[in-house]
């Protein structure tokens, strides 16, 4: 048991290291197309992390939104704008300082959070007990997550599904073939847009 917890930590650390490496690569890249590719990797890795934390539903959302729809949306944006980042070499020191200070504050804030998986954490005693004990009689379905999503948090879920539906619609709109008359013959292969 201890061994398996240890390996989970090791895999966590590995995935987090990959995440950090991917983030640094994204900063370093000038080709925005490559950045979109790397952000796909980023969300693949973070979904792996969510799975490790037993947050299967979050991993599911990350899989469909992060790796699927947002990649497509980014690509649609690239199609409308440019695929290269403007070269900027100026170091904006106040901005850097702000980011570092706020990052440090946020990390300091996490020290007060209950430990991951702590059974005495407040979040596990606010409404969770009632969900676990009563949802079977109050709502019905044997799966507690279903009762929470579809009944206790029904309005929230309605909003969520609306957002996801809109996202799906926008993908359809983006992928749909534009019906325009051919104004001129298709151009020849233009130079590679992203080779860096």
């Amino acid at each position: 048991m201890i061994g398996s917890i240890l390996t989970e930590h090791l895999i966590d650390i590995g995935l987090l290291a990959f995440l950090a490496a991917t983030g640094l690569m994204m900063l370093h890249q000038r080709s925005l197309f490559a950045v979109v590719m790397l952000s796909g990797i980023f969300s693949l890795l973070s979904a792996g992390l969510f799975t490790l934390m037993d947050a299967v539903d979050v991993a599911f959302t990350e899989a469909s939104v992060g790796a699927g729809i947002s990649t497509v949306l980014f690509l649609g944006t690239l199609a409308l704008t440019g695929a290269r980042e403007k070269r900027r070499t100026i170091w904006d020191l106040p901005a850097l300082a702000t980011v570092v200070v706020f990052g440090a504050l946020l990390m300091w804030g996490t020290l007060d959070l209950p430990h991951y998986g702590d059974p005495t954490a407040p979040i596990h005693h606010h409404v969770a007990d009632r969900y676990i004990e009563e949802s079977g009689t109050e709502v019905g379905p044997p799966n507690i997550v279903t009762s929470v999503l579809a009944s206790y948090r029904g309005f929230d879920t309605l909003g969520e599904t609306t957002v996801i539906f809109t996202a799906g619609l926008s993908v359809v709109v983006l992928l749909a073939r534009r019906r325009r008359p051919a104004a001129r013959p298709p151009r020849d292969a233009s130079p590679d847009a992203g080779a860096s």
Binding site: D188, A189, P191, D192, A195
Partner: protein, 127 residues
């Protein structure tokens, strides 16, 4: 879980891991995009196949094993299509392969006909 199935699943998982790493090494080591794609297909076929096989042996005759099988079938159906699309797109947008034997020179565009999206001068430059 007796010794035989444990050994079999252990062998399958280890073999799958070995092919995964080999494929990844090949993707790092090979000289150009197309040869790297050959290496990457090791991961998609043997790597994924052996690992799902090992997990299926662990799961026994349950729905979990069926799901693993379905995942493998998905990978086998989609893998070649993305590989083919990647190779076609790379050729079309002018990244010529490095070849030692170009047996398509002169024959192309011929048999493939007008349906081909590839520009006819593509095979003129190999390095």
């Amino acid at each position: 879980m007796d010794l035989v199935t444990q050994t079999a699943s252990w062998l399958a998982l280890m073999g799958g891991g070995a092919f995964l790493i080999l494929g990844a090494i090949g993707v790092l080591r090979m000289p150009d995009l197309y040869t790297r794609m050959h290496a990457a297909s090791l991961v998609d076929t043997m790597g994924a196949g052996l690992i799902t096989l090992g997990l299926m042996i662990q799961a026994g005759p349950t729905l979990v094993a069926v799901k693993l099988g379905i995942i493998f079938v998905f990978l086998c159906l989609t893998g070649p299509i993305s590989t083919h699309a990647l190779a076609g797109a790379a050729m079309m947008r002018g990244e010529p392969p490095r070849l030692t034997h170009d047996r398509a020179r002169g024959k192309f565009p011929g048999p493939l006909g007008q349906t081909s999206p590839l520009p006819p001068d593509l095979l003129g430059h190999d390095s």
